[in-house]
């Protein structure tokens, strides 16, 4: 055990040294006085943030778009995730299902590709704008939620389902009246947790052109309109902070 631990530590150290050795970092960007000064100048350009009412309104619209993207994306993901989790799970009470392995692979692939990569792939079929972002959130999150739902389904107590099944109730109704209610609290908390994550993700998806606050940010930053960029950034931070506080309150209330 000890030798194993030392082996792992040595390997990690080698990885770190190799990374530092091969990466072409501009070290002077970190330390030189000139770099620090230019960084300071750059950050100084952010103040004061743009506060004209028209622009504030634009930021609010962007924030609303981001929020809508995250809600709709998470809802779609919950639906798709549940649809995939049913064939992707195997209840202890049931015979082996051949669908489990292929569906788990699909879920893994959906999950492995980040939202931003999905968004830039989807721009081709869904076009620029928040719709592509919503779909991208939905696909990535469906992979995450599908796996969690499948785990919940596999660990669900089988008693109620077996009782209904013994009465000759069809499998659809067994799912809706026995299995789903037993895992519903878990499903709700997983979904809420992912929604929180998705608000952050939705805020940056716009950088590749998928709508929301990120699109405003990338647009004004590329035009070097630093005051406007600062307002968008403040809007982003404010929105995330509000949602965090809200969900913390909700969770305290619920548990």
């Amino acid at each position: 055990m000890r030798t194993q631990a030392w082996g792992v530590l040595t390997a990690l150290l080698c990885l770190v040294i190799a990374s530092f050795a091969t990466i072409d970092l501009q070290w002077q960007a970190f330390w030189s006085a000139e770099a620090v000064a230019s960084m300071g100048r750059f950050l100084g350009e952010f103040v004061p943030p743009e506060t004209s009412p028209e622009f504030i309104q634009k930021v609010i619209v962007g924030a609303w778009e981001t929020l809508a993207m995250s809600v709709l994306g998470t809802l779609l993901a919950a639906l798709l995730g549940m649809l995939l989790a049913i064939p992707g799970s195997q209840n202890r009470a049931e015979a082996r299902t051949w669908t489990r392995t292929p569906v788990q692979w699909v879920l893994n692939a959906l999950r492995a590709i980040p939202e931003l990569v999905w968004a830039s792939l989807l721009l081709i079929s869904a076009g620029l704008g928040p719709f592509a972002g919503t779909l991208a959130l939905a696909l990535h999150t469906a992979g995450v939620l599908g796996r969690l739902y499948a785990e919940a389904l596999e660990n669900a107590p089988t008693g109620p389902a077996m009782a209904l099944k013994a009465q000759g109730v069809g499998s659809g109704r067994v799912f809706f009246y026995a299995t789903l209610p037993t895992i519903l609290p878990q499903v709700m908390s997983y979904t809420l947790y992912r929604w929180e994550n998705n608000i952050r993700a939705a805020a940056i998806l716009g950088v590749v052109g998928a709508g929301g606050l990120g699109q405003l940010l990338a647009f004004h930053l590329s035009l070097f309109q630093m005051h406007k960029t600062a307002s968008v950034l403040l809007g982003m931070i404010g929105m995330v902070a509000c949602v965090d506080a809200l969900s913390q309150q909700l969770r305290k209330r619920l548990t």
């Binding site: 990374s19 990466i23 960007a29 778009e65 980040p114 079929s125 930053l221």
Partner: protein, 274 residues
């Protein structure tokens, strides 16, 4: 013979109401996100999609391209590793300052106001670092230091310093404080108390969280490439803009493999060190 009772759902009214209410609530969301699924099935977009997906197969495997991909993949891993290492340099001192359990005046009741405000302001710094997504940091740094991995490394190290610092402080505070308090009360210095009591107690949890974050950093360093921070993401972005589906397909496979590998590696490391 008795006629069969018609099957009636006693909850019809409430179900109908919730369906209608649900749609009424979703409607504005759909408008805000320009949610038009049918747009996906218009002939133009179907044609574009089919043409793009058609170029995915066969995937690009010519040796020169594979060499490029191998180099960029390593660069992605290196960016994440260097980023995390620099984040550690920043996070460790900040979390030591922020941890309330290393307060001497806090031992006997309320903390003195000066240390209290120092701790509080470090906490706020950590919150600010963490609440700006790494992609935004990268966008900003690309403007300052130019295209390339430096911007990505800076972005990762700042965001992850915020996350690691906050969680390190929380781990230290949630540990069993008995030996730590005893050492502090008997006149050992705060560093002594940390090295001989808190660190041994929390070492496993601290490493495990750091390795987990390293795994996250690999994933996010791919994404950072999309704004010009180099690595696999930048190549993927370039190939997508040129509609080179075969190259995109190869890179997606490499990326999925890389994530799976990092996942496995981090699980193993955490098991061995935990």
């Amino acid at each position: 013979m008795r006629r069969a009772e018609p099957i009636r759902d006693p909850a019809t009214a409430s179900r109908l109401f919730s369906i209608v209410a649900g749609f009424a609530l979703l409607w504005p969301l759909g408008i805000a996100t320009e949610f038009r699924p049918w747009a996906l099935f218009e002939s133009d977009s179907i044609q574009a999609t089919v043409r793009f997906l058609g170029t995915f197969w066969p995937i690009a495997v010519d040796p020169e391209f594979l060499r490029l991909i191998a180099r960029e993949t390593w660069r992605t891993v290196a960016m994440a590793t260097v980023g995390i290492s620099l984040a550690l340099l920043l996070a460790i001192p900040l979390s030591l300052v922020a941890a309330r359990v290393l307060s001497l005046s806090g031992l006997t009741g309320k903390m003195d106001p000066v240390p209290f405000w120092i701790r509080q302001s470090v906490r706020w710094v950590l919150i600010v670092l963490r609440s700006i997504p790494e992609l935004v940091w990268a966008l900003v740094f690309v403007r300052v230091v130019g295209l390339g991995p430096t911007a990505g490394v800076l972005a990762i190290s700042l965001t992850y310093a915020g996350m690691l610092g906050k969680v390190y402080a929380e781990i230290l505070e949630s540990a069993d404080q008995h030996s730590n308090r005893t050492l502090l009360r008997n006149g050992s210095s705060r560093m002594q108390a940390f090295f001989h009591s808190l660190l041994p107690t929390c070492a496993a949890e601290l490493t495990s969280y750091t390795v987990y974050r390293w795994e996250c950093a690999i994933r996010s360093s791919v994404v950072l490439g999309f704004v010009g921070a180099g690595g696999l993401g930048q190549e993927m972005d370039n190939s997508m803009k040129m509609f080179a589906g075969a190259e995109v397909a190869t890179m997606l496979l490499v990326f999925i493999g890389l994530v799976a590998l990092a996942d496995r590696a981090s699980a193993t490391i955490r098991k061995v060190l935990g």
